[in-house]
């Protein structure tokens, strides 16, 4: 069965410092991996995805993520955090095989960036 784990309920960083939000996954075959962000009382916004190719993917708002097949991880990173990055972040996975497009989401990690 497919699953996603985000081991931290909350991550606290100071503005200007680098941030990492962790994600590990379990899926049969090759994974398609996604990060989404949710601001209060709003829907999910797509940040970035890994489908194939370069393990380091860059996305919106200066975020990037590194796919590590051996560790089955897809951690989200940003070199310098902004207060406006404070939000709820979700990692999601789907298998590359099979005919369903459904995403399996992690439980989410709240990022708090303090001035």
């Amino acid at each position: 069965a497919q699953s996603v784990a985000q081991p931290e309920d909350q991550v606290n960083v100071a503005e200007g410092n680098p941030l990492t939000v962790k994600c590990t996954y379990s899926v049969s075959g090759n994974p398609y991996l996604f990060w989404y962000v949710q601001y209060p009382n709003r829907g999910l916004q797509f940040l970035l995805k890994y489908i194939t190719g370069d393990n380091l993917v860059k996305g919106s708002y200066g975020f990037e993520a590194e796919f590590n097949k051996s560790q089955t991880s897809f951690h989200l990173k940003k070199p310098s955090a902004l207060v406006s990055d404070s939000a709820l972040y979700f990692c999601a996975v789907r298998a590359s095989s099979g005919n369903t497009g459904k995403l399996i989401f992690g439980q989410g990690t709240t990022l708090q960036v303090k001035p």
Binding site: Y36, G43, L44, G101, L103, G108
Partner: protein, 114 residues
Amino acid sequence: GAGVSQSPSNKVTEKGKDVELRCDPISGHTALYWYRQSLGQGLEFLIYFQGNSAPDKSGLPSDRFSAERTGGSVSTLTIQRTQQEDSAVYLCASSLTGSIHEQYFGPGTRLTVT
């Protein structure tokens, strides 16, 4: 361009009543999804439509839940005989296809069953 829209934004209903939630996907997107977001369960997949293929209903929690997609565009999620545990935010998403493309989410419908 226009994003995914959902209506109503909020719905309060009495236990036992039926409700219909509507989703308008992004024009040209062939894949449409429904998810449910609640405090205790996180984000759960409900149902997936891809073109004219049979939908993937594997996430529907009970036979009180059903969904249809008319003309390959607008979708309606129907919950019959609502229960308090159905209270959640129901999110609709669409994507260009159902494989490698990212899903774009609507703002959701907050359903409260009293």
